[in-house]
């Protein structure tokens, strides 16, 4: 049924009116999180125009169609400037699919349950850290599912990048230069584990011994052979203003070295177009940035589902576009009915080459669905656009405990100025010994200690 009162103009007017009053109330027809909590899906929170690309474009682009240079103008308002530029001039294409309406397909099951059960229990303490009512570290799920400020959205993202208590991602990275040539090809593992806000792994919600830490996170490399065994370990304090400790290990030097970590606008690896600061659009401690503000709301195109590729044994993705047809991942996007656009400034980085970042959050699950940073002249600079998915398609699925695994599938990080692109993808396994997945019991000992680094370096 199409209610004329709630046409596209109404939606736009509603978003604009709310923005002008400084109101952030997600949902158009009804409060989103009330609807989600009651119904488990969000159809009744939005009019048709925000749930279907066909309706939004008035039939010019149908669900299942591909967005390309010839029709991108119809959805220009649904894209951030860098993806728009890439589609218009660099041969990038996006396949479209139906809007996901089921809340439980939009985040890990346990995370959503914790979000619902802990709703309303979070606050910021005097240091700006997210704490419970009694001042303890956060206890799990999204602390601000019905966010009222940009800071709340960023706080949730910074607290938990992968939304699991622990994750291991076997990954591959390709760096493509402006000529379309793949200059660097890395493979390795990324591990992260939260000692607080735990919802799956015991003990919950805290690993008492490390209650003062936000996360352990490591990355190690198997390829190229020059990098084999090279690894880094980050230990993040829970304090949202303190930089993590960084340890690095290069096997030949046989000693773990501690490195400074306050230089966030540098890539971790040669050739990559991603600053440390860009990771997950929230790669720095929360309060090293400031002036968080919501600057817009509206529909958006993002890769929220159908991003998993079980047809390939190791889940690898195809590529297309760019000068050599190798610049962009094949990506499926859907119409996100409501994205919240937040800007922030690097207030604690007087030498930052950027003036601000603009991040798009999906109002339904608050995951980051797009990020663009702007240089100090106000020109678009870098972007970070990822794809998420429930790892389930037909009878194929990857389990995370009792439920299908939910995670990111691939990421494109672009520097629109230099033309460099970094593609990352999560693969099933590397060398039959490192497997992607969540909430593994042995993650800490295998990947997240200094002795683990030494062991990985000897592999």
């Amino acid at each position: 049924m199409h209610i004329r009162r709630f046409d596209r103009g109404y939606t736009r007017r509603k978003f604009l009116a709310d923005a002008s009053r400084g109101v952030l109330a997600t949902g158009v027809l009804a409060p989103l999180w009330d609807v989600l909590a009651a119904e488990g899906e969000m159809t009744s929170a939005y009019p048709d125009e925000l749930l279907s690309l066909d309706a939004y474009t008035q039939g010019r682009i149908k669900t299942g169609d591909e967005i390309h240079a010839g029709n991108v103008e119809f959805v220009k308002d649904l894209l951030e400037p860098i993806r728009y530029e890439q589609i218009l001039n660099q041969g990038r294409r996006l396949k479209t699919t139906r809007t996901t309406t089921d809340l439980m397909r939009l985040s890990p099951w346990e995370y959503i349950e914790a979000t619902l059960s802990n709703r309303g229990k979070a606050r910021f303490d005097e240091r700006g850290n997210v704490v419970t009512a009694d001042g303890q570290p956060w206890i799990g799920g999204n602390p601000f599912p019905d966010p009222k400020t940009g800071l709340e959205l960023f706080a949730a993202q910074t607290l938990s990048w992968g939304r699991h208590d622990s994750s291991f991602y076997a990954f591959e990275v390709q760096d493509v230069d402006v000529s379309g040539k793949v200059n660097f090809d890395y493979a390795g593992g990324w591990a992260e584990l939260h000692p607080v806000a735990r919802v799956s792994l015991s003990p919950k919600p805290y690993w008492e011994k490390h209650k003062d830490k936000l996360r352990f996170q490591s990355v190690f490399f198997l390829e190229p052979h020059q990098y084999r065994g090279t690894s880094f370990l980050n230990i993040w304090p829970y304090d949202h203003k303190t930089f993590p400790q960084l340890y690095g290990y290069i096997p030949e030097f046989r000693r773990i070295r501690q490195h400074p970590t306050d230089q966030r606008f540098e890539p971790l690896l040669p050739g990559t177009t991603m600053y440390l600061s860009d990771a997950w659009a929230a790669g720095d401690p929360l309060n090293t940035w400031g002036n968080y503000r919501i600057v817009g709301r509206g529909p958006f195109l993002a890769a929220i589902s159908d991003g998993w590729n079980p047809d390939e044994a190791d889940w690898r993705h195809g590529t297309h576009g760019g000068p050599k047809g190798d610049s962009f991942w094949d990506t499926t996007v859907e119409l996100v009915p409501e994205a919240i656009v937040v800007e922030a400034e690097p207030t604690m980085f007087p030498r930052a080459p950027i003036s601000k970042k603009r991040v798009w959050f999906d109002a339904r699950n608050q995951v980051v669905i797009g990020m663009v940073t702007y240089d100090r002249r106000g020109q678009p600079f870098r972007s970070f656009d990822g794809a998420y998915s429930l790892y389930e398609r037909g009878d194929k699925k990857v389990m995370d405990g009792a439920h299908p695994y939910w995670s990111w599938t691939h990421v494109i990080a672009s520097d629109i100025q230099s033309g460099g692109i970094t593609r990352l993808q999560q693969v099933r396994q590397l060398e039959n010994s490192h497997f992607s997945g969540a909430n593994q019991d042995d993650l800490y000992d295998r990947y997240l200690t200094q002795s683990a680094l030494l062991r990985l370096g000897g592999a």
Binding site: N183, P224, H225, H259, P267, R351, R376, Q417
Partner: protein, 800 residues
């Protein structure tokens, strides 16, 4: 077919063309409209690499590895006039400049390096790990302690100390790299120039250098060139109006110039060929040539009209009589312009197409259309310019006396002695015209001063790059960090530093690897030498890039870590420095071996190698160009006068003027370079026109004076000689302002040399050619009908 038939054929053509002037006029108008449509597509663009000889091995190395040698980097030097840079004010200035450079259009935000940027780091091995931090904290130092700390940290960073802070600590460098496909050189340069101008004060000198800055200066001066262009055109038109003083005399030369210009510019627009602004003086010369051709034609028309008193008939006769000298002189111009295209320089080829066709369009415009125009324009008053030229003909008749009178022997001896002298001095000319900085700009230009200052305080910009080029760059195994590659870099550096002409500094990726090895092994300098082991070197490579980007090493290795360069800095780019540096480099390359399993060593790129490449092409082609021109001129001259003697006779004054030009250059301390090759070619091509016009007139007057050599020569000098003197003046007027006004040395030098060679050409044509004719009394002159129109018959009554 006898001569009389040929004359009549020319006349018949002229009569037919004038009879169909309306249809032909419409045809020309349509063609002009067609070419005019192409004009908006014309692009004025300087591509510096197109000024280099494409077949030179050094240029090929440069084009294969254009990123080495920092082609996209601007350097800003801040020098404290009254002491060390380590004071609050200077450091604050450096901090602000660094931040402001980050706002420059098209700057690569990740490639801004100064002691205030996060890229300039010191590294210290401490018990708990490696402390690798920016030299400066998160703000410019405010206290003496903070300043002392910065100085201490800078000293702990050898690479920084060598390349960012001068030895006397009074100057520091800020460097910024720009993104090529986003770079609008003019816009970025103006931003950077404004930045440094506003930062200068009583205590600080601030200089801007680097290739993008050079391009910016050239673009700024090219904009200035448009104003000079307009000014010189105005001067030319004024001179024309003063000289001619009648409508036809002013309109016809302008119309010829305008039509040829529209056709030429429109053609390159249609062909999609960009115009090289640095060579814009040649189109201006062509406009002056159009004017001079128009003047020759109109004056002849006035002469003929005085006799026949019928506009149409006068136009027919003018077209007929001017056909051979007009065609021949224009064709010699064309050859003089296009012959430089034999040199393998892309800019020359484009220039040859653009300007060569422009010159060629003077045939329809000047030979066909102009007489038609004369036939419809108001009747000129014959006596108008007689008074104006009274002095000049008298003077030239004096010259006639010198070359035909009693003193002719002394004149001959003087000319022979002068010729011997200029030939002797011309032998001493040197190849190359080195300027510290860029030869495009004056030695005292702001850019070249900046380069000199930077060269004084830092390793500078005079580099020689020895490239280690991966044979299989597609392989995953990065060639730049393989054992053989790294050891070869080190060996090359050692050999060059131990040579008889050591560079003032050298740098390669091996230096960074050694420093990384030291830091990661605990900091002791004993760890500097790299183990000749792949694991050790790979580990150093990984360590060197921890927390940084491969692009940060773009000056020593390619972004994909496959190719590498050994950079060697020299104090200057004098030819002796270039020669010794290249000789040492050849020995070093041979010693380490050119061909290795995974890479080859290529000599070389950088300022030193490219300067040598340009010198070599001048050396190779200067004489080839001149020889080809002589050949073409002999053929055309012989054909026009149907006499080999005539062909060779015409060559004498122009070659003598070329020797005279070389002698003058030697006397002025200017070496042979690309400019002078272009000038010499044009000098011969355009200069021979004077001889052609004068010789044609001598032939004509010889018949009219019944074989009186002296009278024929004197009359020719007084009439055509006068027009030659005027046209030479017109061209000098058109070109000389460029010497005084252009900020581009390249253009100014061309202007000066063109004026010099045109002046010498004029002088020698008016003295040497008639002298030779009088001495040799060649028989082709007596075949008066070759050039003359028998039905016009009488010599100019004004000569009486």
């Amino acid at each position: 077919m006898n001569d009389g038939d040929r004359v009549s054929l020319r006349e018949r053509i002229a009569v037919w063309l004038i009879a169909h002037r309306l249809s032909i006029g419409i045809l020309f108008a349509a063609a002009t409209a067609f070419f005019a449509v192409g004009i908006p597509h014309v692009e004025l663009r300087t591509v510096f690499s197109d000024l280099l000889p494409r077949d030179d091995p050094f240029v090929q190395v440069f084009k294969d590895h254009p990123d080495f040698g920092n082609p996209l980097t601007m350097l800003v030097m801040v020098r404290c006039k009254d002491g060390s840079i380590y004071n609050r004010e200077t450091l604050d200035k450096v901090w602000r400049l660094t931040r402001d450079i980050d706002l420059a259009p098209a700057v690569n935000h990740d490639q801004i390096v100064s002691i205030a940027s996060s890229k300039a780091r010191y590294a210290e091995a401490k018990p708990y790990g490696i402390d690798m931090r920016p030299l400066m904290g998160d703000h410019p130092p405010q206290t003496d302690e903070e300043i002392a700390l910065l100085r201490e940290r800078t000293r702990m960073a050898p690479m920084v100390a060598r390349f960012l802070v001068s030895e006397d600590e009074r100057a520091t460098i800020l460097s910024a790299q720009f993104i090529e496909h986003r770079l609008e050189y003019g816009e970025t340069f103006e931003y950077m120039q404004a930045l440094i101008e506003s930062a200068r004060d009583d205590r600080h000198e601030i200089h801007l250098a680097g290739y993008p800055a050079l391009t910016g200066w050239v673009y700024r001066y090219e904009a200035q060139m448009l104003a000079i262009f307009a000014l010189t055109i105005a001067a030319l038109i004024t001179a024309l109006a003063l000289r001619m003083r009648h409508v036809a005399g002013v309109i016809v030369p302008i119309a010829i110039a305008a039509m040829a210009a529209v056709w030429a510019v429109g053609l390159v627009g249609w062909l999609g060929i960009s115009i090289e602004p640095l060579l814009m003086i040649v189109p201006l010369l062509l406009i002056a040539r159009s004017f001079s051709h128009g003047v020759q034609l109109t004056e002849r028309y006035v002469d003929i009209y005085a006799q026949v008193r019928d506009k149409r008939r006068a136009a027919e006769l003018t077209m007929s009589v001017m056909m051979v000298p007009g065609l021949t002189s224009i064709l010699t111009d064309v050859v003089g312009i296009i012959v430089v295209a034999v040199a393998p320089i892309d800019a020359m080829v484009r220039h040859a197409i653009f300007c060569g066709m422009w010159a060629l369009w003077l045939i329809p415009a000047g030979v066909v259309w102009a007489p038609m125009l004369l036939s419809i324009l108001p009747t000129p008053k014959v006596a108008v310019h007689r008074d104006m030229t009274k002095t000049l003909p008298r003077l030239l008749r004096g010259v006639g006396e010198l070359v035909t009178g009693r003193r002719v022997r002394w004149t001959g001896i003087a000319v022979a002695a002068g010729a011997a002298l200029v030939v002797l001095f011309a032998q001493k000319i040197e190849i190359g015209n080195p300027v510290e900085g860029s030869n495009l700009l004056h030695a005292n230009s702001e850019f070249n001063v900046a380069v000199r200052k930077i060269n004084n305080d830092f390793p500078g910009v005079n580099t020689l790059e020895l490239i280690l080029e991966a044979k299989r760059p597609e392989l995953a195994d990065w060639t730049a960090q393989q054992v053989d590659t790294v050891l070869t870099m080190t060996a090359l550096q050692q050999k060059m530093e131990a040579s008889g002409a050591p560079p003032r500094a050298s740098l390669s990726y091996a230096d960074y690897l050694a420093e990384t090895s030291r830091i990661f092994n605990g900091g002791n300098t004993r760890w500097l030498p790299l183990d000749p082991d792949q694991r050790a070197i790979s580990a150093a490579a990984v360590g060197s890039m921890m927390g940084t980007s491969a692009a940060n090493f773009g000056h020593v290795i390619s972004d994909d870590l496959q190719h590498a360069t050994v950079s060697l800095w020299y104090a200057d780019n004098r030819q002796s420095t270039v020669d010794t540096a290249l000789a040492a480099a050849r020995d070093a390359v041979l010693a380490v071996g050119i061909d290795h399993p995974e890479f080859r060593v290529r000599l070389g790129s950088g300022v030193i190698a490219l300067q040598e490449a340009v010198n070599r092409v001048v050396q190779r082609y200067h004489w080839i160009v001149l020889a080809l021109l002589n050949l073409a001129m002999v053929l055309m001259g012989s054909l026009a006068y149907r006499s080999w003697v005539a062909g060779f006779l015409l060559l004498v004054p122009v070659n003598l003027s070329n020797w005279a030009l070389l002698s003058t250059m030697y006397a002025l301390g200017i070496g042979l370079d690309v400019n002078s090759t272009i000038v010499a070619a044009i000098g011969i091509g355009v200069g021979i026109d004077y001889g052609i016009y004068l010789l044609s007139r001598i032939c004509e007057e010889y018949g009219a004076t019944n074989g009186d050599w002296k009278a024929a020569i004197c009359a020719s000098l007084a009439t055509t000689g006068s027009a030659i003197a005027f046209t030479a003046t017109v061209m000098a007027l058109g070109i000389l302002p460029w010497y005084f006004l252009s900020g581009l040395k390249f253009v100014a030098d061309m202007g000066l040399l063109l004026v010099v060679i045109m002046g010498i050409n004029m002088l020698l044509s008016l003295v040497v050619l008639p002298l030779l004719v009088f001495q040799l009394k060649p028989t082709f002159v007596s075949r008066a009908t070759v050039i003359d129109t028998p039905r016009m018959g009488q010599h100019d009554p004004r000569i009486e």
